[in-house]
Amino acid sequence: MNPSLKLFTVLFISLELTFTSKLWANIIIIIGCLILLIHAGFRWQQFCWLVLVPLFPAIAIFITIVLFSPSHSLFYGLVLFSRLYMYVSLGTVFTFTTNPLALARSLEQNCHLPSKYAYGVLAALNLMTKMKQAVITIRAAGQMRGVVLHWWSPTLYFKAILVALQWSDQLAQAMESHGFVEGQARTSTINIPLTVYDWLITITLIVVIQIIIIALP
């Protein structure tokens, strides 16, 4: 499916369900997402993370609604509990099945987003792994100079911000020296197609969800 349309669909569904309070829509979307993830080769460790990470906030919301809200409604508790998982599942399906480069290319070609944003975000994404490595390096560099940097030490983050500032400047220069000029036309290596089939899936998905929202509680 076209990455931009996929992003649009995910955002549309999430936003719409934010303004409704339907239980079944959430559950059906979560099940749909799980099927898609299994199909895409999601590993069981990753499933465990998917279940565990939102568990505490979800339980907290559930308990707040059921025990402390004026209505003590079990139904609304379940709606909010499942809604959190719905957001997380949709987000996971999107990130797991979409290549960031394909998304950037699609946003540039199909949505005519200025390439500076498309590639700026992509470059930043590519820096994430480096940032993780940088934090490890900073801590070791600190210890080698007799400074212990705990994860709560302001110095650690100060240095991390310094590094990031450096990188942003160097990255801008690197992009420019590789021929990138803001606002100038670019060609494309791969054309990301936006087909009738993409639109058909998007519209079908949205219509089906409308039916579920209207028909089921």
Partner: protein
């Protein structure tokens, strides 16, 4: 006529006058070699031609620089790690070619020929962050070449590149200059192999740019490479670090198959090997910064059983990227930190001042570290770590960006410090000039094994 013209140009960066009334002409199709000590302004000059300065900092105070060209200007930076916006060499090449508005149908063939140029076909789909410094430099060169630039600016392009690839890339440069009449401007400190490019040689000194005469040039470009004489460590030498059945991987690639070796206490060991063989990764394994299999012991104690806090008081790593070493903003703050926590009794505050002026860093206490030149950062980095005085220091390419004179001063400083305060050193370096007599033992890393070389190597 296409050319680059400096007309009475003066340039100020971070309140310092870097270039003073520079006059120079670089004609199309010529090859130029810029020389000068670390911090003399070579990178600044290239960035002015590339149009990155004064856009990204600094100010032109007199004169102009004009670059008349119809084509692209390609620039290779000193630090190869920081010139990629995308994740793999292939994607970076595609991004670059798209920027240059190469038609879709031609992109693939241009990508392939660029990869071939830098001999990095096998690395095309690997994540750039997993490549070694030398490999990154070759990828960066390929990307710049893919642009088919009419002007090619190379800032110390071979600093981390091994000898074989250096010769290969020099031959490639000669070829593109011949085939496409590309103007090439290179900065370097190590001049061997340049003779056959027959470049115009310039010297940048005290902000002035001087074109060298032919006889001066030939003296400079002479191949004065030295070979390192090292002996085999004696059998009963006492080791400080020992590795048993050590194997290391980077991603899926095996770098070291079970190897057993030791580093001799209070001696200097040189570690060499081709690009991407795993030298930096080996240092990081010894410094407990990457995972490995087998055991490494420090003073007969398994390093996994020593807490990082204690371990790093006894072992220090001089990172390949100098920026990784610094924790503060100004030179003075860094020096104070090392003075406060350092164990090396050689470095009293008077000695630090003497060393600073020796290294040409005196009076820069207020300066922001990140505005120092590549070579100045290297010198400061080495000084700061020497002051810390760990029993073992691991050096990862410490001499890149250092001119001959600076290198000599750095080596003298290390020697003087060790006379008073003995330390064990392990040094990774492609740059072997001037190291003869400084090295006790020579460890060679090749074919996933480590071996001490003896006699002439």
């Amino acid at each position: 006529m296409e050319k680059i013209l400096f007309d009475d140009l003066s340039f100020v960066f971070d309140k310092q006058l870097i270039l003073r009334h520079v006059n120079a002409t670089f004609k199309a199709g010529e090859i130029h070699l810029l020389t000068g000590i670390s911090g003399s302004g070579k990178s600044t000059l290239l960035k002015l031609i590339a149009g990155l300065l004064p856009k990204y900092g600094g100010e032109i105070t007199t004169g102009t620089v004009s670059v008349s060209t119809a084509g692209q200007i390609g620039m290779l930076f000193q630090d190869p790690a920081m010139q990629f916006a995308l994740d793999t060499p292939r994607h970076e090449l595609e991004f670059t070619l798209e920027n240059c508005q190469v038609p879709t149908a031609k992109i693939n063939s241009r990508v392939i020929s660029a990869l071939r140029f830098g001999k990095v076909e096998a690395l095309a789909n690997q994540s750039i962050s997993t490549l070694s410094g030398g490999q990154q430099q070759r990828v960066a060169l390929s990307v710049v070449m893919a642009m088919r630039p009419s002007i090619l600016l190379l800032d110390e392009p071979f600093a981390n590149v091994d000898e074989e690839n250096r010769q290969l890339l020099l031959a490639q440069l000669l070829k593109i200059n011949h085939d496409y009449r590309t103007t090439i401007i290179i900065t370097d400190h190590d001049f061997h192999g340049y003779q056959r490019l027959n470049p115009f040689v310039w010297q940048l000194r005290d902000g002035k740019l001087i074109k060298l005469l032919n006889n001066q040039k030939h003296g400079l470009l002479q191949d004065d490479r030295q070979y390192i004489k090292a002996s085999l460590p004696p059998v009963k030498a006492s080791p400080i670090i020992s590795a048993a059945n050590l194997s290391i991987k980077r991603g899926n690639k095996t770098l070291l198959t079970p190897a057993t070796f030791s580093l001799i206490k209070n001696k200097t060991t040189l570690l060499t090997g081709p690009n991407g063989i795993g030298k930096s990764t080996l240092l990081k394994a010894i410094a407990k910064l990457v995972k490995y299999q087998g055991t490494i012991t420090f003073d007969s104690q398994n390093i996994q059983k020593i807490s990082p806090g204690k371990y790093y008081q006894r072992l220090g790593l001089i990172f390949q990227h100098a920026n990784d070493q610094f924790l503060n903003v100004t030179v003075g703050e860094e020096l104070n930190l090392s003075l406060k926590n350092g164990q090396n009794s050689y470095f009293t505050s008077q000695q630090v001042q003497r060393s600073l002026s020796e290294l040409g860093l005196a009076g820069r206490e207020e300066q922001v570290i990140y505005s120092l030149s590549g070579g100045q950062k290297k010198k400061l980095q080495i000084l700061l770590m020497l002051m810390m005085g760990q029993e073992v220091l691991l050096f990862d390419e410490p001499f890149t960006g250092l001119d001959k004179e600076s290198l000599k001063k750095v080596l003298n400083l290390i020697t003087a410090s060790r006379e008073k305060y003995p330390q064990t050193l392990l040094i990774v370096s492609h740059q072997l000039n001037g190291l003869d007599g400084f090295i006790d033992y020579h460890l060679e890393f090749n074919h996933q094994q480590l071996k001490y070389c003896g006699g002439n190597s």
